[in-house]
């Protein structure tokens, strides 16, 4: 490597309201090189990406693109220099169609003053075909599931002939098949001389495509070496300074009376004849491809979707779940999949985000709040779940993804439900936190809660669930005992 790198970062620093997110970060990316940026939640990866994209201005340091130095970039400069970013939060336009979202950057760059629907559609079609997915082009993005949004964001980044494509956790919401096609795209980009900066918590993927891995911890670069010099364990250790094992829940009593029984549940075509039972202390996994009805089932159990048929029993008592209030009253909790819009009150404090589920417990007969109690409990949970935050009063939006997820978990754990449904509990969560969350799940089971885990992370399902239900087209098609199967085989059964 004698030629000048495509992009060089020199001593980049950035702090937010007292948090030093980046501290003298330097590394470089060569043309056509696939570099992985690894690090725990909150280590500063997304911040670094935003600086490269020109969305945030660094406090110090400079970025050099093909020999030209910038103390700070601007989105338009970055785009003009061939940098395309797939953001962790997608940065899509919910009110525009899929086609428009995909083609927007290209339209901006083309200099056309008028828009041409046909041109836009053709471009979007081509790009979606390139990543081998099929999403209705005229659908509004707000109506899409998270994974589809992710795919739209990926397609958009490919619309321009970029020199560097930055991907901030592009695979978190994707199923195995889609991940594979994305990895194939990365290889193709590389072959075409396009560099890729790739961020992912799924370390296996990292090894599949990356040539170089840059590990950052607490805003510092702690290692910057060819991928070949790492293995799974050493990478995890570099990132966190710890070693991990998967925590598996202890066996439960299969004879115990079920805590939750679902019989004949159906909803106009989307769900059909759902039957299952959940026993205290059991961790039940639900696996399925995108659109298989997992989230619909979860929402139905939480009173968010009306059902057409069937019944739900909690502790043998039939319950009518017309709203989340009913579900909560029946002891059911739900950690939603999209924590940014469904889970969190981003601009409110951590304490309030945790307390909001349980205000009644802290209010007196006149509705008086026990504020000390609330604050105390929030601090307690921050400690128990290891949330990295200066205090419980900062807004949740200042936390990194993994820590935000812990706040949502804390809210539901604080409410001590009997049944907890977790939809993608470790989406976008680093391996350290992931292990912690698995520990929490095992601990819940220990305390005889019924836990339902919906996840695309197959090893996770296999590792921490007693049983896995496989859903297809709104039906449960198979029941697999946990641990009896490996991830490859499970993936094959999902796809078959």
């Amino acid at each position: 490597m004698t030629e000048a790198p495509l992009i060089r970062l020199d001593a980049i620093s950035k702090s937010f309201a007292g948090v030093q997110a980046l501290n003298g970060v330097s590394f470089s990316i060569g043309a056509g090189q696939v570099v992985c940026l690894a690090g725990e939640n909150g280590s500063g990866k997304s911040t670094l990406i935003k600086i490269l994209a020109g969305v945030e201005k660094p406090d110090g340091g400079q970025v050099t693109i093909e020999g030209e130095s910038f103390p700070a970039l601007d989105p338009r400069v970055s785009v003009a220099r061939g940098i395309q970013v797939i953001y962790q939060d997608f940065a899509l336009f919910p009110n525009l169609t899929v086609a428009e979202n995909i083609a927007f950057s290209a339209e901006l760059a083309s200099g056309h003053r008028l828009v041409n629907r046909r041109r836009i559609k053709t471009l979007a079609e081509t790009l979606l075909k390139r990543i081998a997915v099929d999403i209705p082009l005229d659908a509004r993005v707000e109506t899409l599931a998270v994974a589809d949004k992710q795919l739209v964001a990926i397609a958009r980044a490919l619309a321009l002939d970029a020199r560097l494509v930055i991907m901030d956790e592009p695979t978190t919401a994707l199923t195995e098949r889609e991940v594979q096609s994305l990895l194939a795209i990365i290889r193709r980009l590389k072959a075409a001389g396009v560099a890729v900066l790739f961020v992912s918590h799924k370390l296996a993927e990292v090894f599949e495509v990356c040539e170089k891995i840059v590990v950052i911890r607490n805003g510092h670069v702690v290692s910057d070496k060819p991928a070949a010099e790492f293995n799974l364990d050493s990478l995890a250790f570099h990132m966190t300074g710890r070693h991990f094992e998967m925590t598996v829940a202890r066996a439960f009593d299969p004879e115990a009376a079920p805590i939750l029984e679902v019989a004949g549940l159906g909803r106009d075509g989307a769900l059909r004849d759902i039957d299952f039972a959940l026993r205290p202390g059991e961790v039940l996994g639900i696996a399925g491809l995108l659109g298989s009805g997992r989230t619909q089932l979860a929402k139905a159990l939480f009173g968010l979707l009306p059902m057409d048929s069937g019944e739900i029993r909690v502790d043998g008592e039939k319950v009518a779940l017309a709203s989340p209030l009913d579900a909560i009253a029946a002891g059911i909790g739900y950690v939603p999949e999209d924590r940014l819009t469904e889970g969190l009150f981003l601009s409110q404090s951590i304490a309030r985000n945790i307390a909001v589920g349980r205000l009644d417990a802290f209010s007196g007969p006149l509705g008086w709040l026990d504020r000390d109690g609330l604050g105390g409990e929030a601090r307690d949970w921050l400690k128990r779940l290891n949330v990295a935050a200066p205090n419980a009063e900062v807004p949740v939006k200042s936390l990194s993804g993994g820590n935000q997820q812990r706040v949502v978990l804390a809210r539901w754990l604080a409410g001590s439900p009997r049944i907890l449904i977790l939809n993608g509990p470790t989406v976008g969560v680093d391996i350290g936190s992931k292990a912690d969350i698995h520990g929490i799940i095992a601990d819940l089971a220990e305390r005889r809660l019924g836990v339902v885990v919906i996840s695309d992370d197959l090893p996770e399902l296999i590792g921490c669930c007693h049983r896995i239900l496989v859903m297809k087209a709104g039906q449960i098609v198979e029941e697999i005992p946990g641990g009896s199967i490996d991830a490859g085989e499970l993936a094959a059964r999902l796809a078959s």
Binding site: I328, E342, L344, F345, S347, V356, D360, F362, E393
Partner: protein
């Protein structure tokens, strides 16, 4: 998704620096400056008991309406019906007072009727607020449309009931509410303080208040968190209705009459006060203290300019300019902090 008026971090403020960087701190400084300038321009007239008492009689009516407006704004809504509710409530109370008691009534008849009329006005406020809450919460109308429509209905009912003319002839004792004073503290001011304390308690000390703020921040997440948005919405507009009715009673007593079009200029004014007071019009954030400071700075400015015989149009200009200047100062502060 998040609107540009994101709040500052609610970090504990320490020292003058922190005070100045908080919205409340800036508003306090502004209020003190306005007070200082007005006092300096004409101390002999501004710094008198008479002037203070006069101001204390003036602002409570629109300040109470602003509190009612504030509650709805905290949920991300708006209540354009506050003035309509206040007049309808006042008209009903006035009809009771004038038909059941009349100007000569004293003692038990007078007192009883006054109590009845006050109760009736508050009941009208409750019903109007309930209606707003239901229309917004159950039928899902955007608050701006729902309350614009209901405001027209309330005003229209007041016109229809009275034929447009004023209702007169209350027992003398009723005038105390708007014009009397207890140990020198004007009654309207006392009513305002009571309402302000209630709103403050509700927002800062009760579960309902916290729910209002959370609902205003992110309605979808509120649903997932098990907040009963219907119950919160209905209660918010209900409280707003009751406070509007209280403002109506104060206006009615101060005018010793009730009429369908009293206080019509207070609607935009109360929105302006909320916004100057730092209440986020998109919901979620706002402090009663900010609103009180905004009301005070407005009143100092208004009375001071009247004293200087500044035209009332120039007052509008100054008021609009002030709002912009404060926000620009805020914004510059904001950006400096981001760096």
């Amino acid at each position: 998704m998040n609107k540009p008026t994101a709040p500052r971090t609610a970090g504990q403020s320490r020292g003058i620096q922190a005070l100045l960087s908080s919205e409340i701190g800036q508003l306090s400084v502004l209020t003190v400056i306005i007070f200082g300038v007005m006092a300096a321009l004409d101390p002999s007239r501004f710094l008198t008991m008479g002037n203070f008492s006069s101001m204390a009689f003036q602002f409570p009516e629109f300040a109470i309406l602003s509190l009612a407006m504030m509650l709805s704004m905290m949920t991300g809504g708006i209540d354009l019906s506050v003035v309509g509710v206040s007049n309808l409530a006042a008209v009903i109370a006035a009809l009771l007072l004038s038909t059941l008691a009349g100007p000569q009534a004293v003692g038990l008849v007078g007192g009883g009727t006054i109590a009845l009329a006050i109760a009736a006005a508050l009941l009208v406020g409750t019903v109007c607020g309930l209606l707003n809450g239901i229309v917004i919460g159950i039928f899902g109308l955007p608050p701006i449309l729902a309350t614009l429509g209901s405001g027209l209905i309330f005003t229209g009912l007041a016109v229809a009931i009275t034929g447009g003319s004023a209702v007169l002839g209350f027992p003398a004792a009723f005038a105390f509410l708007g014009n009397g004073a207890i140990v020198g503290v004007p009654m309207p001011l006392i009513v305002f303080i009571v309402v302000a304390v209630i709103v403050w308690l509700v927002l800062e000390r009760t579960a309902l208040g916290l729910r209002i703020q959370m609902l205003g921040t992110n309605p979808l997440a509120a649903r997932f968190a098990g907040i009963d948005d219907l119950a919160v919405t209905v209660r918010t507009y209900l409280l707003s209705g009751i406070f509007s009715a209280s403002a109506g009673l104060v206006i009615m007593s101060r005018a010793n009459s009730a009429k369908a079009d009293y206080g019509s200029s207070y609607l935009l004014l109360s929105i302006l006060i909320c916004v100057l007071g730092g209440i986020n019009p998109y919901g979620g954030f706002g402090r009663v203290a900010g609103l009180v400071l905004a009301v005070l700075s407005l009143q100092f400015l208004s009375s001071g300019l009247n004293m200087l015989q500044v035209s009332n149009f120039a007052k509008e200009l100054i008021w609009g300019g002030l709002l912009l200047a404060v926000m620009v100062a805020n914004g510059i502060q904001f950006r400096r902090k981001r760096r």
